[in-house]
């Protein structure tokens, strides 16, 4: 029988989460890349258990290291996501990753206008080794991408905290850490932030969860 439903898009509204991680050579020290791989996997598996009739989580994964930045997973429904395994090597072409993120978010076919605002998650332990100022400025100040929520983790003393403080959309979204354990804690924070948005009546209102305590970690 005919009804108004027949004229509506039946799928839940997309909620994009775009993750960009550092896989440069320094991430190979002190178990950081191994912690990243475990944390990413846990994040994906935890989020799969969340349910929302209103929003459908889509994940994209980018990484920068070696000689380039690349897309490791195009925007994909969380149900079909398997987290990749990274190895650490080479330099830190973060600027190139900003360009790739910008390209994705400006694409209205991949992220239609009925989507909730994307969340960008950036993790790095060092300084960018390419031209990053203009790509970052365009990402955070211009066009659709300027409206995304931006969370970042600075690992260790070599990360450029000033740059990352400019990158994030609010100071509470910059997390500093020292070691592998902190990487996994950060991804618990990201999980909580994304889950809050999924469950909220107003997913596009900024929501800042508490950083998880160490004793809630399960490793």
């Amino acid at each position: 029988m005919e009804s108004l439903n027949d004229f509506l898009i039946q799928k839940p509204r997309p909620l994009p989460v775009i993750i960009a991680v550092d896989r440069s050579g320094s991430m190979g020290v002190d178990g950081k890349i191994e912690a990243l791989n475990i944390a990413l996997n846990n994040f994906v598996e935890s989020i799969k258990e969340e349910d929302s009739a209103k929003a459908e989580l889509h994940i994209a994964l980018y990484s920068f290291g070696g000689t380039n930045a690349q897309c490791d997973l195009p925007l994909t429904n969380i149900e079909q996501v398997e987290a990749p395994t990274y190895t650490a090597q080479g330099r830190t072409p973060m600027g190139e990753s900003f360009r790739l993120l910008k390209e994705l978010i400006e694409n209205k076919e991949l992220i239609p206008s009925r989507s909730y605002k994307p969340t960008i998650v950036l993790l790095t332990d060092g300084l960018p080794t390419d031209d990053w100022q203009s790509p970052m400025s365009e990402l955070i100040n211009e066009g659709r991408s300027s409206k995304a929520f931006r969370i970042a983790m600075a690992i260790g003393d070599d990360a450029d905290k000033t740059m990352l403080a400019n990158f994030v959309s609010t100071p509470e979204y910059l997390v500093s850490g020292e070691n592998a354990r902190d990487i996994r804690k950060f991804f618990r924070f990201v999980t909580m932030s994304v889950t809050q948005r999924l469950k909220s009546q107003t997913p596009d209102m900024q929501q800042i969860p508490q950083m998880p305590d160490d004793d809630t970690l399960d490793f």
């Binding site: 005919e2 108004l4 439903n5 004229f7 009925r114 066009g143 009546q201 107003t202 997913p203 596009d204």
Partner: protein, 233 residues
């Protein structure tokens, strides 16, 4: 009006915290010589947005029912906005508490002219005579964002003018409906609404529409409003 016009209208409150009313508002005026449809969606983040929505609908009807009003695009947009601003500023220090979108359609039977105006999101879709349907919706980047009255930014109505000879069909909705409508199905929606509702009496029409709005779109939490007017010859 000379033609026999059917007007279908309905609104339902979205799923939100208790105590927050439906912040959509509409007002319709039909006389022998003209038809004015107004629809406004008060912003959820603005505590007095329902008042803002009511006042812009009142303002538009008050201005347009004076048939001698000079309908120049810029003048009309400017006059609605400045009238609204003046009233709100007289009654409050913070105009942003009253933020609202605004849609309207004015049909003048004497000149056979239709004027549409849109400030903010939602949908106006219009068919005159046997021409194709024209849709206007605010080009969003993402959900939950819009220009609006009271923001101090990009406050200007998008005005369009049509001539009709014989008949018209007009659909207005707030974003609670337009965000999830398949654009290519709008012509079919027009046919569906006419087919389903033309033989119902007024009270049954509006009650049934309200029921449909509640049940069809329950998974999305926005307030939802729809006005559909068509000539029924």
């Amino acid at each position: 009006m000379k033609a026999n016009i059917e007007i279908l209208k309905g609104k339902v409150r979205g799923t939100k915290n208790k105590g927050i009313p439906n912040q959509d508002y509409y007002q319709i005026l039909e006389t022998r010589s003209h038809l004015i449809l107004t629809l406004a969606d008060g912003l959820g983040s603005a505590k007095n947005s329902l008042t803002g929505a009511k006042y812009v609908c009142d303002t538009i009807i008050r201005m347009l029912k004076n048939r001698n009003y000079k309908l120049n695009d810029n003048d009309l947009s400017f006059d609605i906005i400045s009238n609204w601003n003046k009233y709100i500023s007289k009654n409050s220090d913070d105009i942003s508490d009253f933020r609202t979108t605004s849609l309207f359609v004015f049909v003048d039977n004497n000149s056979n002219q239709i004027i549409t105006g849109q400030l903010g999101d939602g949908l106006i879709a219009i068919k005159v005579d046997d021409n194709e349907i024209k849709n206007y919706s605010f080009a969003k980047d993402f959900l939950n964002e819009t220009t609006c009255l009271g923001s101090g930014m990009n406050e200007r109505y998008n005005i369009n003018i049509y001539k009709y000879y014989n008949k018209f069909e007009i659909l207005l909705t707030t974003d609670g409906i337009s965000d999830d409508l398949e654009p290519e199905k709008i012509p079919l929606l027009f046919e569906y609404l006419k087919r389903k509702y033309k033989n119902l009496d007024k009270k049954k029409q509006n009650n049934e529409l309200k029921r449909e709005l509640k049940t069809s779109m329950s998974k999305f939490s926005d307030d939802k409003s729809l006005i559909f007017a068509w000539t029924n010859r």
